[in-house]
Symmetry: C2
Amino acid sequence: MLRIHTLRLPLSNLSLISSQSQKPRLNNNYRTMMNYTKAASSQAFKNKKLLFRQLFEKDSSTYTYLLADVAHPDKPALLIDPVDKTADRDLSLVKELGLKLIYAINTHVHADHVTGTGLIKTKVPSVKSIISKASKSKADLLIEAGDKIQFGDFFLEVRATPGHTLGCVTYVTGDGSDQPQPRMAFTGDALLIRGCGRTDFQIFSLPKETLIYPAHDYRGFTVSTVGEEMQYNSRLTKDEEMFKSIMENLNLPYPKMIDIAVPSNMVCGLQDLSVKPVDTSSN
Amino acid sequence: MLRIHTLRLPLSNLSLISSQSQKPRLNNNYRTMMNYTKAASSQAFKNKKLLFRQLFEKDSSTYTYLLADVAHPDKPALLIDPVDKTADRDLSLVKELGLKLIYAINTHVHADHVTGTGLIKTKVPSVKSIISKASKSKADLLIEAGDKIQFGDFFLEVRATPGHTLGCVTYVTGDGSDQPQPRMAFTGDALLIRGCGRTDFQIFSLPKETLIYPAHDYRGFTVSTVGEEMQYNSRLTKDEEMFKSIMENLNLPYPKMIDIAVPSNMVCGLQDLSVKPVDTSSN
């Protein structure tokens, strides 16, 4: 599926690359350095620097994540799950840190808040919105399992984690000695800390030390690990029958934001988007 | 001020050491290794591991921080600014992670929530509470500027940052190649992200890349750096006259929790503490 490759993106040396090209893009200097010794490679990694910020929206207990390659001359950045209410806060931080925001990404179509991606695109038109093809939503780029989202010398890989919605994906930082260690998984609503989801097959196949960054937490936790969730997640440690029974008997109320949030989130958070986003699903 | 040294603490090889002994305690194996080469020292550092968790209490927008040396056999841990309401959550996490909680620490006497230190001590009696001597509060250990709080092979150093209260201190992770890089400053209410405090003399003398972890954030930020706050903190970038004027004209309402919180927080959060904490100020 080289779908992404067919898009003409004005991204200079920042590109969204498909899973078929397994190696992340590295600049030539770095690649050459890798051929020498492990010590040199370790030195090269030291010069790389991931900026990472976890941001919180209190009304919906949503986490938004800012990631950037600050060692790259352009300081390319992306936001995962931005919220409309806090879009100005996020853009102000991006500006203060001297970053170039290139992607505004959703893990899925949220039912509890309106995504900030559309609002961000009206304020910074060069930003591309991203969501999964399986979400059936509109965005500039529609990704699927195995795709890689490149920002500078770092990348996120896409894992399909349906369950909460059919289109839910988890974004995981790259594998390899030139990528951040331990890896970080942005799980959206597929896996919350000590709760929810039935997507353990995809997420729990990651190394135990992988850091888990969900879309929400209602008890004040900010991060977990794959190992912890395998051991202590109150839902995912049950067998399939028990899990089904728990989920069927939650008796959750009708989500108060769902009728506003879902239609908006199908179109980057703006129902009357003056600049219509490109539907790439036909490409 | 070798005050701390006069205490008989049942801490085995975990100790609170004063600033007079400049070197943090290192086990003999590690110290020997340090004498060889830089490569060996770098290897030794790789075996060290700081576990760090930022936790949130929604009603008072308070951050609680959990730090532990998980490479040490005892996995000694400490909590900074625990809240009474979330004490059970914090202790449950400590247990799940297999840590041994040795200290429950406050940055100052909070006026907006009741500290969890007393509650934690009733549930885990071996935990020692810590606050500054200048706070005039009761705790097992009363620290002052320059003191070091050791947990395993890591330590926090104490900086006096009065202003919000006379007894406010900032805890900073240790300096040195065997300590976490970049350093982390737990600023309490002395410096909030983009706001408050007049303690820049102490905090802003740290390296610009030092990570800033405050006691609260009301807009959803979770971390900043010294460099960012020097540049963008809306209060601390003003001159002294303007700062005074801003602070005098905030017209903040009377803190709703102050009459309950302050008297409780003078005695580890428990006004009727059955086991009276040791007053070490006379030692």
